[in-house]
């Protein structure tokens, strides 16, 4: 089964080559960062987290792809998701793996990474985030492999896996909640210190994860013989629609509290994002685009006819992923630091090495996901039977 992982059509080999190229570029850039320190990034004493931690935050959301198919399939016996479940779980595996890599490349002393385990501090939310993320990775890897094996041998999955599957549902909620708590517990950062952050993380995760999953399922349907079925795609599209609407509502709730409430420390980061402060507002075009695209995508998704036409659905899902990437993979982390607690406006823009490392980590995700999906396709296409 594993030995055939590199076998596939031209398209598959092109994807592997692209992924490998991304990783290669990332490795070169990371070597540069390792030699010269994180000073090669655009980070500063005022904006001390940037693209890496933002990608980590965004990808925790993508990992929600699993739970949104697992829950209906296993708890509500929603059979249409039968072929989708494994795709969702393996996407979660790739996403969580990238999350961990992004935290790793952000560390100033990566050689000391074991200190996190040798000297754990339960008072730090980071300790709990590490715990829930590695747990989620393990759970999805086990569930995915067992499901794959069951399919290969054409036997029912073993009974012991069911409690693990049930556990994976609240566990998925925990990864978004704990990741939000990383931010929401910091009094120094009023932009993050809001009770809506964890619910927002859940809503945006339940939109972006399944939206990416739809795109992947549509691509597989088009370019391979693997079809998850129209019913599954439609059901997932409904989930994306509602999650997106709820996310927009949460963003609105937060905007009201900040802007109408008018506490300056709470409003200033929003002012920086939407209007700029003292003429500085590098994120303005991004944030306006992101919010307008999010709004447009949510409204268009609400029209059932748009969801039924797969071409339109694909575009809308791409818009959802893009808008939420701007929201969580860019604006949310950076704006927490602007203005600084001392009121200084220091802007941030990632440097070339930083972008290259980021692309490299995504390259790892591409490779892992492509190979895991290859395993699924190999079995479904009955290559082994041949």
């Amino acid at each position: 089964m594993i030995d055939r992982i590199f076998h596939g059509g031209l398209r598959y080999r092109l994807i592997l080559a692209a992924g490998a190229l991304m990783v290669l570029g990332g490795l070169v850039a990371y070597a540069h960062q390792l030699t010269n320190g994180l000073g090669v990034t655009g980070l500063s004493r005022d904006v001390s987290w940037g693209l890496y931690i933002a990608q980590f935050t965004f990808l925790v959301g993508i990992a929600a792809s699993a739970v949104m198919v697992v829950l209906p399939y296993y708890l509500h016996d929603y059979k249409a998701f039968g072929r989708m479940v494994i795709l969702g779980e393996f996407l979660a595996v790739a996403a969580v793996l990238m999350c961990m890599l992004f935290v790793f490349v952000d560390m100033g002393q990566p050689a000391r990474v074991l200190n996190l385990i040798l000297h754990p501090r339960p008072n730090s939310v980071m300790f709990w985030d590490m715990l829930v993320l590695s747990g989620y990775l393990l759970i999805n890897l086990v569930i995915g492999s067992v499901a794959l094996d069951a399919e290969r041998t054409e036997a029912a999955p073993p009974r012991w896996i069911r409690p693990l599957i049930i556990l994976s549902i609240p566990w998925a909620v925990s990864i978004h909640t704990v990741t939000a708590f990383l931010y929401a517990g910091l009094e120094a950062r009023p932009f993050w210190m809001t009770a809506i952050l964890a619910p927002r993380f859940l809503a945006s995760a339940f939109a972006s994860g399944p939206a990416l999953l739809i795109l992947l399922a549509l691509a597989l349907r088009r370019y391979s013989r693997f079809d998850v079925g129209t019913k599954a795609i439609q059901a997932l599209a409904t989930i994306v629609t509602y999650a997106m609407a709820i996310n927009l509502f949460f963003v609105g709730v937060e905007l009201f509290t900040a802007l109408y409430g008018g506490n300056p420390h709470h409003t200033e980061p929003f002012a920086y994002l939407f209007t700029g402060i003292e003429g500085r507002g590098a994120l303005m075009p991004w944030v306006w685009t992101g919010q307008l695209v999010a709004l447009a995508a949510a409204v268009l998704l609400l029209v059932p006819a748009n969801r039924r036409r797969h071409r339109i659905l694909a575009v809308l899902c791409a818009l959802v992923v893009g808008a939420l990437w701007i929201e969580k993979g860019l604006a949310l982390v950076v704006a927490g630091f602007i203005p600084s607690p001392l009121g200084h406006v220091t802007e941030y823009a990632p440097t070339t090495p930083e972008v290259a490392v980021t692309i490299g980590v995504y390259g790892v995700g591409v490779l892992v996901l492509a190979m895991l999906y290859r395993l699924v396709l190999n079995i479904r296409e009955r290559f082994e039977m041949a």
């Binding site: 010269n36 320190g37 994180l38 000073g39 990034t41 980070l43 500063s44 004493r45 005022d46 001390s48 987290w49 935290v103 952000d106 560390m107 100033g108 002393q109 990566p110 000391r112 990474v113 200190n115 996190l116 000297h119 754990p120 501090r121 008072n123 730090s124 939310v125 980071m126 300790f127 590490m130 990383l182 517990g185 910091l186 009094e187 120094a188 950062r189 927490g336 630091f337 600084s340 607690p341 001392l342 009121g343 200084h344 220091t346």
Partner: protein, 281 residues
């Protein structure tokens, strides 16, 4: 009495464990000398600095404090101000203490330069978030310590600190450490590696030798700087710090955060000197 006896046994037990772990706080002699339950009653002592903003106005005074600190700790001078390492530095009164200014605060007071440094908070957010215990609050005197050998460089503490008091070594600092004419560093304070966070420790290494923090000593040795920085134990009523906190109107940075800073500021008199000094305090 039973309670005393139980207290003694508890103390003796703790002392044995403490001695085994090498924890000074559980030193047997210390526990034996303390009445039962005194450890619950509060900190044994605290260390604090009072910054007299008016006496810090002279550039020479602030410069002397900053330079003394940087020489004592081999603080690097990085070319890019955005990636600077700072232990003690100047901010405007309005930026450092935004709760103390308003729309009609005279510019002279708002823009008055003040020295800022780690506040050695009673509830330090940096200690709360550190995933490895590389930063911790010393029980005996409340100093927020930093172990630059354990720090993994995640910078969670920098996100958590409401005072910007933590600096990350974005580059290898050793090439940027100022040296004497002969190229040797000003002190034997350990050089840092890149990728770790550092900050003021109230000169824990100097206190051990019975010295005052370098900034305090420097301020007192500069003309016009006498009393610009006062160091001592605010829980000791006879200390100079206690006297100033009793007699002058002092404030701390961002009190609304509940961090309980141990650096106090005697607000500048500025244009409204009479109002500041004459109010009920």
């Amino acid at each position: 009495m039973g309670a005393t006896r139980r207290g003694f046994l508890k103390g003796a037990g703790l002392a044995t464990v403490g001695a085994g772990l090498g924890l000074p706080i559980l030193d047997p002699a210390r526990l034996a000398a303390l009445p039962d339950g005194v450890r619950e009653s509060g900190p044994l002592s605290r260390l604090a600095i009072v910054v007299d903003v008016d006496r810090c106005r002279l550039d020479g005074v602030r410069q002397a404090c900053i330079e003394a600190c940087e020489r004592a700790h081999n603080v690097p001078h990085l070319p890019d101000p955005a990636q600077e390492v700072r232990w003690i530095w100047s901010e405007t009164f309005g930026a450092a203490l935004p709760d103390q200014v308003h729309a009609h605060t005279p510019a002279e007071r708002r823009e008055a330069p003040v020295l800022v440094l780690c506040n050695h908070c009673e509830e330090p957010p940096c200690v709360q978030v550190c995933p490895t215990g590389a930063t911790w609050k010393r029980e005996a005197d409340g100093i927020v310590m930093m172990d630059m050998h354990r720090c993994v460089g995640c910078r969670y503490c920098m996100a958590a600190c409401p005072y910007g008091a933590r600096s990350f070594n974005w580059r290898d600092p050793q090439a940027f450490v100022p040296t004497r004419m002969d190229g040797s560093p000003y002190s034997d304070y350990p050089m840092r590696t890149r990728g770790v966070v550092e900050k003021c420790t109230f000169c824990a290494e100097r206190l051990r030798e019975g010295l005052q923090p370098a900034c305090v000593e420097a301020a007192n040795s500069v003309p016009g700087g006498q009393g610009a920085l006062i160091f001592g134990d605010p829980t000791d009523p006879s200390s100079e710090v206690s006297r100033v906190l009793r007699e002058r109107h002092t404030v701390t940075r961002r009190p609304g955060f509940g961090t309980g800073p141990n650096v106090y500021y005697v607000a500048p008199a500025g244009a409204g000197a009479a109002a500041d000094r004459g109010g009920p305090s």
